[in-house]
């Protein structure tokens, strides 16, 4: 083989429209996320950030437009000029290429931290349980929770729970990690520990899309910042471009409020 395989984790969003009933939430969003880069999505409440993130891994089906991961359409199979909607089974398999971290953690409360991490690699990817368990312990150690493997989620603090959730997402070895406001359900003193874990991951070269209100984190960890308002991408660029020299009025107004 002479050609080096391109790095995985390229996400393309093309003209995505999404309505809930009569209310259109995304009015044609375009976005390209380069493999291994960290993209932070900023924007006021209700601007459609969560909806966009959930559309990327097909937790929401979009009305118009497409999402592709490494050139492969999400939610559809292409045969010539025809797109076939994926069956749920295939869709679930495709989802294992995305890791999703929720604002409210959504850990499985009846399973221990370790069982939470082990579940999907074993049942969705059919991997060997023993092997996955060893990996899961390493992942828990990496997020600083080596000694909490056998604790149940309700016995953990919010910050610890979110770190277990991150380990759970990492266990799938996803090409892309999606974070939806991973720290906004946390007490201020717990935000730091979770952001530190995410910033650490950013250095390992996994593609990440992070919705957050933490401007400091965005400035430090992001390669690109995307500003959304009212279901559109209004402005994007490097942290310096968007945070220090915003071009658009709405970006300026938003930053004036949060900075």
């Amino acid at each position: 083989m002479t050609a080096v395989a391109p790095r995985p984790g390229r996400v393309e969003v093309h003209g995505v429209h999404k309505s809930f009933g009569a209310h259109e939430v995304l009015h044609g969003v375009d976005l390209v996320v380069e493999p291994g880069s960290v993209t932070v999505v900023l924007g006021p409440s209700g601007s459609g950030k969560s909806t966009l993130l959930r559309s990327i891994n097909h937790l929401e089906t979009v009305d118009r437009g497409f999402v592709a991961l490494d050139g492969e359409l999400v939610g559809y199979r292409r045969k010539g000029d025809v797109l076939h909607e994926l069956k749920e089974k295939e869709l679930l398999r495709q989802r294992t290429r995305f890791g999703f971290v929720f604002q409210s953690f959504n850990l499985f409360p009846h399973l221990t931290a370790l069982e939470n991490v082990v579940e999907a690699p074993v049942s969705a990817q059919g991997r060997n349980r023993r092997e996955v368990e060893a990996e899961a312990r390493e992942l828990l150690a990496r997020v600083g929770l080596a000694d909490k493997a056998d604790a149940h989620p309700r016995q953990l603090s919010g910050g610890q729970q979110q770190r277990v959730a991150i380990a759970r997402a990492l266990a799938m070895k996803p090409a892309v990690l999606l974070f939806d406001e991973p720290t906004s359900a946390l007490d201020p003193e717990l935000v730091g520990e979770v952001l530190a874990v995410i910033a650490d991951l950013a250095r390992t070269g996994t593609t990440m899309i992070v919705v957050t209100h933490e401007i400091g984190f965005a400035r430090q960890a992001a390669d690109r910042i995307v500003f959304m308002d009212d279901g559109r991408v209004v402005e994007q660029g490097t942290p310096t471009e968007v945070l220090d020299h915003p071009q658009h009025e709405r970006t300026k107004a938003f930053l004036a409020k949060v900075l």
Partner: protein, 326 residues
């Protein structure tokens, strides 16, 4: 206040050496006395009134036909519960599925089987042979491979199981559905986002959490079934109540025989209640930070608390709390 002000903060604990006197509850004592007197009166009448015929009760309590009746009651209840909840779970999952057909079928089933009185359903099943002399297995509207006499397939016991089980399934379906609905939407979403296969989402993620809501109501149903099975006396099937009624029809000892049945039903219910405690405790893992103590642990805790109460002041400070909670 003056105590605090008179001493600088750096000095030793100002509350040291104070004696704790437990709160008194005169109302509680009075109520206890009243209840004790009432209980004594009831006991007295039970013992001294010869018409209870305790000798007869005692003689029949372990009698062979009665024990066989109890056994039949247990069998009917367990088979019905298993059948009812298995089918009920399927119905609940159908009701919550994406397919309109499955939803409609499930809804229709529940509608019909909840609407027709159980006693009527039992008699209908028993008389199925009148409608269909034989039941065939084969290709729909095509040839049949095997044929069974309905009468030999659905005897009294079969009719009872079918009637009770299918009726129970309609109720169980609603209980299971309520349990599934009680599981946070985020759990379904997290499972889907992780790509966990659909069936595994149900069995590993959703149903175990639903069990916390399902178990108390389900046990209620099972206890109801223990007593509800007595309705199959219309099929002259020898469960506990039918057996008892046969005996008092013969001996005219109505009251003592009813007491025999009552005692057995209480025993069965008690056993189920004890099992319920442990099942609930099992499904509470993760839902509560610390599990409630088992009765055994509680007994041991009370004993140690009682002992420590005998010891003087220092030890008494902790014995006020539930000692097991620590």
């Amino acid at each position: 206040m003056t105590l605090l002000e008179s001493r600088p903060a750096t000095q030793v604990n100002p509350y040291e050496g104070l004696r704790v006197v437990k709160a008194k509850h005169p109302g509680r004592w009075a109520a206890t006395a009243v209840v004790a007197v009432l209980l004594a009166m009831v006991l007295n009448s039970l013992i001294t009134n010869p018409r209870w015929e305790w000798g007869v009760v005692w003689a029949y309590l372990g009698e062979v036909s009665i024990v066989e009746g109890v056994w039949m009651t247990i069998e009917l209840t367990l088979i019905t519960a298993v059948l009812g909840f298995a089918l009920g779970t399927v119905l609940a999952l159908m009701r919550l599925s994406q397919s309109p057909l499955l939803r409609a079928v499930s809804w229709g089933y529940t509608w019909v089987f909840r609407s027709v009185p159980l006693i009527l359903q039992l008699l209908l099943w028993y008389n199925l042979a009148y409608l269909y002399q034989s039941l065939d297995v084969g290709i729909p509207f095509g040839p049949s491979f095997a044929s069974f006499e309905t009468l030999s397939l659905i005897d009294k016991f079969g009719a009872a199981i079918l009637g009770l089980g299918l009726h129970q399934a309609a109720y169980s379906a609603e209980i299971v559905r309520a349990g599934i609905l009680s599981v946070d939407q985020g759990q379904h979403e997290a499972a889907a986002a992780l790509g966990i296969p659909r069936r595994r989402q149900s069995t590993r993620i959703v149903l175990p959490q639903a069990m916390r809501t399902i178990v108390p109501t389900a046990v209620n149903e099972i206890i109801g079934l223990f007593k509800g099975t007595s309705i199959v006396y219309v099929l002259a099937l020898g469960e506990l109540f039918y057996t008892v009624s046969v005996i008092y029809g013969r001996t005219q000892r109505v009251l003592p025989m009813l007491v025999v049945a009552a005692i057995w039903y209480v025993v069965l219910t008690t056993v189920v209640t004890v099992i319920q405690f442990y099942v609930e405790r099992y499904y509470a893992r993760g839902a509560v930070r610390t599990l409630p103590p088992t009765p055994l642990q509680r007994l041991r805790g009370n004993l140690t608390a009682g002992l420590s109460r005998v010891r003087p002041v220092g030890a008494a400070a902790t014995s006020g709390q539930d000692p097991v909670a620590r």
